[in-house]
């Protein structure tokens, strides 16, 4: 049974939030969440890159790495190149994903600089940070095994939606965190807990609240 869009959205934004349930992208979550403007900029950049990267990596995974079967075609096999029995998954997945993501971020940066200077000014400084953001790579990897079909992963269109929703979940978490941290800066915090420790504890309480979304609408992630 194919996964529905709404199911993906609720699952990826609320139930298994990238940051608060999957522990992905924690460095920007704690590093760039002091000001709301920074948090929003980073969040938007992640949505953008994560959608594109999810599409590209799903395309590669489904049509280059997996062995040919009824559901997906291996383009290398179609071209007559040898495809080992288990496909190229084991040896090429990690390296091809990271190269595609790194290249994509560079490419997006160049395109934005040339064609959308306003957008580039808003997101530009966050883009290089995203190459090593484990949320993007993590989402690409999750797309290959999540959602009821761990052998084949999500098809390309669903993977793109999942990437977008994961980005939205990241933005949501960043936004909430920046609000909390701005309030925290005005409060009396014991000296030893100032800064990062209290931010971690607040994130823990947020994660606790997000656990309330488990099984929302009966969706099991």
């Amino acid at each position: 049974m194919e996964v529905g869009y709404l199911e993906l959205a609720v699952g990826s934004i609320l139930i298994s939030n990238v940051v608060l349930a999957k522990f992905l992208g924690l460095c920007p979550f704690f590093g760039v969440s002091r000001r709301t403007s920074d948090a929003v900029g980073m969040g938007l950049a992640v949505i953008f890159v994560m959608s594109i990267a999810s599409a590209a990596t799903a395309l590669i995974y489904r049509h280059l790495l997996l062995p040919t079967n009824l559901e997906h075609t291996n383009l290398l096999g179609v071209l007559g190149l040898p495809v080992p029995e288990g496909g190229y998954v084991l040896i090429l997945k990690t390296i091809s994903f990271i190269l595609v993501i790194a290249g994509l971020v560079q490419f997006v940066e160049m395109v934005l600089k040339k064609s959308a200077p306003a957008l580039y000014r808003a997101l530009g400084i966050y883009l290089p940070l995203i190459t090593t953001n484990c949320a993007v790579m993590g989402m690409a990897l999750l797309n290959t095994e999540a959602w009821r079909d761990p052998a084949n992963g999500l098809p390309v269109h669903l993977a793109t939606v999942n990437g977008f929703c994961g980005g939205v979940g990241f933005l949501l978490a960043m936004l909430l965190m920046s609000g909390i941290r701005q309030r925290l800066a005005e409060r009396r915090v014991p000296k030893a807990l100032q800064g990062l420790p209290i931010a971690f504890i607040s994130a823990g309480l947020m994660a606790l609240a997000f656990m309330g979304f488990t099984k929302l609408f009966g969706i099991a992630v």
């Binding site: 460095c27 090429l92 390296i95 209290i198």
Partner: protein, 262 residues
């Protein structure tokens, strides 16, 4: 001698998690039990040491502009090897628990950080020692967090259930009832936050003590709590102003980058 120092300096003074604040994602995700933490640290250390050595060997041939891309390819190669090795060696349960965090070593900022900050400037032997030292530091950090989370959150230690202690008919220590939430996502954040706080408390105490010994003439400024939204007062007010707050800035030990790297 100095090679040994490269190693011994790292686990505590440059601890990747608690001092440099790098590699947070695996730190929080896999520390549900000691076994997982040790397996993760071993995998990361293997990649770190190999990548450090190779990057140090090729550092003179890599053009400066594309060095990051080269480092990523080197790291990704070693990560793939470790991934395959883990599938072969490690038990099924551990592989399942670590899941995507083994391939995600490739974007672990500890490794790229050491490549950029150390291996690209030092010889292979020094880089080997650096990798080992940082790896041991990572292991210690993961063990510290996993110990708290496994014992308190699951009531087990290295997989063995903690049993009540009885002397004759009387129960000395009753059966421990686990706080399940510590094993889940919120518990990870809270435990690591409290540990950060603990280390910063210890660090502050030590620094204050050192300062008291060094400059006994400077009077201490009173007040434990920060006055919010105020720039640090002038130097005139009690020298270094030891208890002056720096709101929204992490306090622990000295060599800390301004922001955790993404």
């Amino acid at each position: 001698m100095s090679l040994l120092k490269e190693f011994t300096d790292k686990p505590f003074k440059h601890n990747p998690v608690f001092v440099l604040v790098l590699g947070l994602c695996p730190t929080l995700a896999v520390t549900t039990s000691l076994k997982n933490g040790v397996a993760m640290a071993a995998a990361t250390t293997a990649v770190l040491v190999c990548a450090n050595i190779l990057i140090s060997l090729i550092r003179r041939f890599v053009p400066n502009q594309i060095r990051i891309a080269c480092y990523i390819v080197v790291i990704a190669g070693f990560v793939t090897m470790v991934e395959i090795a883990m599938k072969a060696i490690a038990p099924e349960a551990i592989n399942k628990a670590l899941g995507i965090f083994i391939p995600l070593i490739v974007v672990n900022c500890i490794i790229l950080g050491r490549a950029e900050a150390f291996a690209s400037k030092h010889g292979p032997l020094a880089s080997l020692m650096d990798g080992l030292g940082i790896g041991v530091g990572f292991l210690l950090a993961l063990v510290a967090i996993a110990l708290v989370r496994e014992v308190l959150g699951a009531g087990t230690l290295w997989g063995y259930r903690l049993t009540p202690v009885t002397v004759g008919p009387t129960t000395v220590i009753p059966q421990y009832v686990p706080i399940t939430v510590l094993g889940m996502a919120p518990g990870a954040f809270i435990v690591i936050g409290l540990l950060f706080g603990l280390f910063s408390l210890v660090g502050n105490r030590r620094r204050d003590a050192a300062r008291l010994v060094a400059v006994p003439a400077v009077p201490q400024v009173a007040g434990d709590f920060p006055k919010p939204k105020k720039k640090p007062a002038d130097k005139a007010e009690g020298g270094e102003a030891p208890s002056e707050p720096r709101p929204s800035e992490p306090q622990p030990s000295e060599p800390r980058p301004p922001e955790p790297r993404p």
